[in-house]
């Protein structure tokens, strides 16, 4: 595998095959925990770790896993790493753990993670699988932060990040944006915008 190909795999996850905005995978966390940039970043970091680690292990085991039981095997590997993230976050970042709630354990059934395991890691060597996991995870995180940023800005009138107010606009906060319908509005409009840009 050449240097260019690694860069290509990484870029693919962020831009061309962005899991949320182009492949429409992992929409459940994208809708549920994208109420602020901080939450989105926390969720994204968890997914990056799980995706990269599970891609690595599944890629290493790809010769050993029988085809007929591959999905349960993938799930066992993914669930292991999700448990690691869950317990680590509970120990060191309890507020974030509380805020993410059920959506943290639900990474186990996140279709991005399983999708990459099935489509990529089980057919490619470890190194490139790790790059793919990193790229897809980064793409997911960036998409989530974009959605979270828009929702936070219009829903609360400011973007709050790590104890600082990054951006403040003088608008009447629209409560709708923080509520679930806001996520649908934002994702729908973003998808429309992306399709428009692609058609050009």
């Amino acid at each position: 595998m050449s240097e260019k190909s690694y860069a290509h795999e990484f870029k693919k996850g962020v831009l061309k095959d962005n899991p949320v905005l182009c492949l429409l995978l992992g929409l459940c966390p994208a809708l549920a925990v994208s109420t602020s940039i901080e939450l989105a970043l926390g969720m994204g970091a968890a997914v990056i770790f799980v995706l990269t680690a599970s891609n690595l292990i599944i890629s290493l085991l790809r010769g050993q896993i029988p085809v007929t039981v591959r999905i349960p095997s993938f799930i066992v590997v993914i669930a292991t790493f999700v448990t690691v993230v869950d317990m680590t976050m509970l120990a060191f970042l309890p507020p974030l753990h509380r805020a993410l709630g059920i959506y943290l354990p639900l990474i186990v059934v996140n279709c991005i993670v399983l999708g990459r395991a099935e489509v990529f890691a089980s057919r490619n060597p470890p190194a490139i699988s790790v790059v793919d996991g990193l790229g897809m995870g980064t793409g997911f995180t960036l998409a989530l932060m974009l959605i979270g940023g828009i929702r936070e800005l219009f829903g609360t009138g400011e973007i709050f990040f790590m104890g600082h107010t990054l951006l403040q606009v003088n608008i009447e906060p629209a409560m709708l944006m923080i509520l679930p319908p806001g996520a649908f509005f934002v994702i729908g409009l973003l998808l429309g915008l992306i399709n428009l840009l692609r058609d050009r």
Binding site: E172, A174, L176, G188
Partner: protein
């Protein structure tokens, strides 16, 4: 002179979608006028801003999408008018402008324009505002439509006479009867059916030609569904909100209702 023989039915009546929509507008004008009389210039400002925003949004979107501009057919005017009537009389104008924009741009044109929208645009605009800025949509302030029910009933009667045979009377009938029956059943206050929003909902919003079932049986199902949901909402939440949400919810199952009530053709070749 050549004679053209075409297949029946030979209908010669100058009915068009445009005429039907303008009929709705004319029917709503007395209601709007009484509202302006009761609430003063603020009501006039709300109604005109709402209609203007809706029409401008429609025109702008059709320009951008390089479609034929169809603001003359009046559907945007109806959207703006209905939205304005649903709002409280002290709503700030900028809230209203956002609502009218959302109604036309998202509820209508994002779905493909007039005839393709799933949800009633005016109701979507109203629901958006209710969730986005609940403090401005306070229920304790009278809405523009909270006028004498007699006026609204006259408007509705006019609507039915003007669009005779085209308005979906089955929906209104089923809706009204269901609500009355359930009110009697649950021992509720009968005066609920004389609330302005209810009359507007039953006769003007639930009979929208686009977002309601096309089959005759389906229209009864739609009306009954709206009625049941309205009463349930009324039991547990705000009654006026319930009317709007019940129509919106039933809009979303319209394709399903249409599918299950499709009439069988007279001569269908059995497979």
């Amino acid at each position: 002179m050549s004679v053209v023989v075409s297949a029946p039915p030979h209908i010669k009546k100058g009915v068009s979608a445009k005429k039907m929509v303008w009929g709705v507008i004319i029917a709503l004008i007395p209601a709007a006028a009484v509202s302006v009389y009761l609430f003063g210039l603020q009501a006039l400002a709300i109604i005109s801003t709402s209609v203007l925003t809706a029409v401008c949004t429609e025109g702008a979107i059709q320009k951008i999408r390089l479609k034929k501009t169809t603001i003359i057919d009046g559907s945007a005017v109806v959207t703006g008018l209905l939205l304005a009537l649903l709002l409280p009389s002290n709503v700030p104008l900028w809230v209203l402008i956002v609502g009218a924009f959302v109604a036309v741009a998202i509820a209508k044109h994002a779905f493909g324009g007039y005839g393709s929208n799933i949800f009633n645009p005016a109701l979507v605009g109203w629901a958006f505002l209710t969730m986005a800025w609940p403090m401005y949509m306070a229920v304790d302030v009278a809405r523009l439509v909270d006028i004498s029910p007699v006026v609204l009933l006259v408007c509705a009667a006019f609507l039915f006479l003007w669009n005779r045979g085209y308005i979906k009377w089955q929906i209104s009938t089923a809706y009204l009867i269901t609500v009355v029956l359930l009110i009697v059943l649950f021992n509720l206050d009968i005066s609920r059916i004389f609330i302005g929003v209810f009359i507007l909902g039953v006769f003007f919003m639930a009979t929208d030609p686009v977002t309601t079932p096309t089959t005759k049986k389906g229209r009864f199902v739609f009306g009954v569904g709206c009625g049941i949901l309205t009463v349930i909402y009324g039991l547990y939440g705000g009654y006026a909100e319930g009317i709007c949400y019940s129509i919106l919810l039933m809009n979303s199952v319209t394709p399903l209702v249409d599918r299950f009530t499709r009439p069988t053709p007279l001569r269908e070749d059995k497979p």
